[in-house]
Structure formats: C-alpha cells, structure tokens
C-alpha cells in the first residue's frame, strides 16, 4: 500500500533522510521508532504529501506521490501532535468544515457517528478551545477518519497526553486499525508502539536500521534491543 524507495531529503546541505526503503502492506500497522532528529516526522510529512523529497520515490496505492499527490491525499488520514483543529469552532463545526473539504457524502450522519465513537457526542456543540488535550486528540482522530481513508498516518499521537488519555487513545487507534486500514505511526512510546503494531521499524540518522515483524520480537527485551539499534 505504501512503497518508499531510496528516499532522501535534505534541508540545505543537511541530509535528514538518506536512502530510506520501507514497505507497508495493505491493512498492516507499522510503527516507526527513532530518536529525536532521526527523520521520522520528515518521512511522514513526505508520505502525507506535505513535503517533497529531494530524491527517491514514494507510492501510495500504486500512485506516485510526485505526480498524483492530489489523488493520494483523498486516501490519507493524518493525525499529528498538532490537532489541525480550530479552537474558535465547536467540535461539530470543525468536522463539518473538514467534511466539506473532503466532500464527505451524507456528512451529517457520518459526523454523528464519528463523534459518538470517539466519545465526544455530548460535547459536540462546545468550542474546541474548552477541550482537554486528550479530547482534542480524539477529535483530531474523528477528523482524520471522517472521509474513511484507506491509509492512516499518525505522528506521535500520544504526545502531551496523560496516562488515561493515552490509554483511551490506544482504544481508538486499535479501532482505526481494525477496519483494515493501513497504518504508519511514529512514536517514542516503545511499549505502546510495539503493542499496537504488526511490524516495527527503527529510523536512525535518516536510515532504516531495523525492520521486523512484532511476532518475531521479544517484547520483554525490546527496550534493550532498541537501545542497541539506536546506539549501535
């Protein structure tokens, strides 16, 4: 579903990604780990069509990102640590706006459904600025799945959440993945990232340094393994 080949990205003379190769199969949940500055967010922003790569190729659903970004965007749902919501609009107004931008058919019932599923139906007429960080992040997920995207990109979705809110977000993430969606997520939370994923990859200094199915990984020793990969 997502094919990344020899991807490179430089900012000025500073390379951030150096020949990244990564495949995510249809319906697969891949978690991308890596230390700060490894290039995780840059990689996700390129797949999300928000940034052009310097070299290399990205395909989503067989479409080349360089020539079909417009088509690919309709199949993507993106959740980052920024919620992409408008604080001066209510939860419902935010979703109505994005439903128009994505031309969601029968948007009323769809908005009702996603608000219900993220547990915000009763707060639908309240301004987003009154929401806690956890509620805003759940609404951000409702926004991202509103148009039923085939591919979900999560960039550190647990960032800034307390334990309860993070646990609640995990339930939402599992539900999102259970629908057969292809998911690529970056996170610093090793336990959560491993528990949610079918496969994990580690990005180190702009390159994929580790890429393995979670079935083959001993969860109890993953922290040590990760430290070895990152520092090795």
């Amino acid at each position: 579903m997502i094919e990344i080949n020899s991807l490179g990205k430089s900012f000025g003379h500073r390379p951030v990604l150096r020949g990244v190769d990564l495949s995510v199969a249809k319906g697969e949940f891949v978690t991308l780990f890596g230390p700060n500055g490894a290039g995780k967010t840059t990689l996700l922003r390129i797949v999300a069509t928000l940034m052009r790569p310097t070299v290399g190729r990205v395909q989503v659903g067989g479409f080349d990102l360089a020539s079909h970004a417009h088509i690919i965007r309709s199949a993507l749902g993106v959740v980052s640590h920024q919620t992409l919501l408008y604080n001066d609009l209510t939860a419902e107004e935010n979703l109505r706006f994005y439903a128009r931008m994505y031309a969601v058919p029968e948007s009323g019932p769809r908005i009702d459904a996603v608000l219900e599923q993220v547990g915000l139906a009763r707060r639908r007429r309240e301004l987003v600025r009154t929401f806690s960080r956890g509620m805003q992040q759940r609404l951000a997920i409702a926004r991202a799945v509103l148009h039923k995207p085939a591919v979900m990109l999560f960039d550190e979705p647990h960032s800034g959440l307390d334990q309860d809110a993070a646990a609640m977000l995990d339930d939402v993430l599992k539900a999102v993945a259970a629908g057969g969606r292809t998911v690529l997520m970056t996170t610093h939370d090793l336990t959560r990232g491993l528990a949610l994923a079918d496969r994990v990859a580690v990005l180190r200094r702009g390159k994929i340094a580790f890429n393995q199915s979670t079935v083959e990984i001993d969860a109890a020793h993953f922290t040590e393994m990760y430290a070895g990969v990152v520092n090795g």
């Binding site: 928000l50 417009h70 599992k174 993945a177």
Partner: protein, 249 residues
C-alpha cells in the same frame, strides 16, 4: 468503536486499492474555497480577532490624519482620496498579515494542505474571507470619514472603485502573505513585498477616486480605472498559477 473500525467499503469491495483511491470523491475548487470562507467567518464571529482590531485601527488613522493635516475645505477635498486609501491599505495589510499567520500559529495550515482539493481553493478561500473582512472595515470607515472630512462618498462609481481597488490589493496581498508567512520577520516582510508590487493598483485607485470626488470627466480617469481592472485580472491569473508552488514546503 465499531463505526471507526468498520471496513472501508471502497477498499473491501473493489478489486484493488488503487481503484479505491480513485473512487474517493473530491470536492470542487469553489466548494472547498467557500468551506474555508465559512470557517474563517464563523471563527471570526467568535474570536473577533481581526475585524474589530482593524476598525479601531482605521478610525484612529483617519482621526489622526484629520488633526495632523489641519486643512481648509478645498485642501481637504484634494487629499481625501489619498488619506482614505492610505487608511485602507494600512488596515488591509494588518488583516493580510493574519490571513495565513493565524493558520500557521494554531497549526491548522497542514489541515488545509492535506485536503484533496486543488490548492488554489485555499488561495481563493483566503482571498474571499480577507476581502470580506476588509470590506466590513471599509463599511464602517467610509461613513465616519465622510462626516469627519465633510465629503459625500456614497457615489456608486466611487464605491465600485473602492471595491475593485480593495480586491486588487487583497489578491496580491493574499498571494504575498502566503510567501511571507514562512519567513522569520513575516509582519515586516509582507509590507516590504506588498507595497512596491501593489503600487500600480493603489495609485490608479487613488487617481480614479480623486477624480470622481473632484467631478472630473470620466474620459480623464477611465484609463486609471481600466488599469485597476486589468491589474486584478492579471494578478488573479498569476495567483491561480503559482499558489501551489508558494505553499510547497
């Protein structure tokens, strides 16, 4: 969570994923542009972040000009158009500075860029909402200016020039605001870029406005009026063609 996790109909029923992507509907440019206008106006009605501040600023400018110039009636009529346009330009520049900066500051600009629409829809949406905000400011400023300077401004042709001149300034301002918003000194950078580029439309609008207030023959100012219209058409076309590249990271 069954609704979020429900299998995607398009993915599960179609033979390949590429087809599923093609099936996803995309809204038209105009529809998306008006969605942005609706969002901006709804947010502005709540926050009153832009229009209120611009009205207060504009009224202060015309009051300061009124006291600073201390002109007799004839001299006042001669400079009225210039003072009015300087007020509009200053206020519009402040408003234009917020057009994209507010999206960047709250981190919502990516949400617009991620939408599966032609990115010119973002330009047109932002242009229309900024234009509406500036017109609202002008709706308040013109009557106050008229009373303070003792000049009747409610002539249809004069108001048409105000609308077209403002539109021209908003078109080039929205385009340059998208460019300036990623620079470090964006508040300073926008006027530095905008004032020279908008000079033709501003000078032409001042000339037509001044001519109309002085009651000169239309034939003497029609060329300047044509310049305002031509400027609008040219920069609208330039914005449509280049906006996609301006917002590319």
């Amino acid at each position: 969570m069954d609704n979020i996790s429900e299998p995607l109909q398009s993915v599960s029923t179609l033979p390949d994923v590429s087809a599923a992507i093609v099936k996803t509907p995309t809204p038209g440019t105009l529809r998306a542009a008006f969605a942005i206008v609706w969002k901006d106006i709804a947010a502005e009605l709540r926050s009153k972040e832009i229009v209120t501040a611009l009205i207060v600023f504009s009224l202060l400018v015309i009051v300061i000009f009124n006291f600073a110039l201390q002109l007799d009636r004839t001299a006042r009529e001669n400079v009225a158009a210039g003072v009015l346009w300087v007020t509009f330009i200053f206020a519009a520049t402040l408003g234009l500075n917020r057009t994209f900066a507010s999206e960047i500051d709250r981190g919502s600009f990516d949400g617009l860029l991620l939408a599966p629409v032609d990115r010119s829809a973002i330009f047109f949406g932002k242009l229309i909402s900024t234009f509406v905000f500036i017109l609202l400011v002008e709706l308040v400023v013109i009557p106050v200016f008229s009373v303070l300077y003792g000049i009747a401004l409610f002539e249809p042709l004069f108001l048409l020039v105000v609308v077209l001149g403002t539109l021209g300034y908003a078109i080039v301002g929205t385009l340059l605001a998208a460019m300036a918003v990623h620079t470090r000194a964006r508040e300073v950078m926008l006027p530095v870029l905008l004032f020279p580029v908008s000079l033709p439309v501003v000078l032409a609008a001042v000339r037509v406005s001044q001519g109309l207030l002085a009651g000169v023959e239309w034939s003497r100012i029609s060329a300047a009026f044509s310049l305002v219209v031509t400027y609008n058409v040219i920069f609208l076309a330039i914005a449509y063609m280049t906006f996609d590249y301006l917002v590319e990271e």
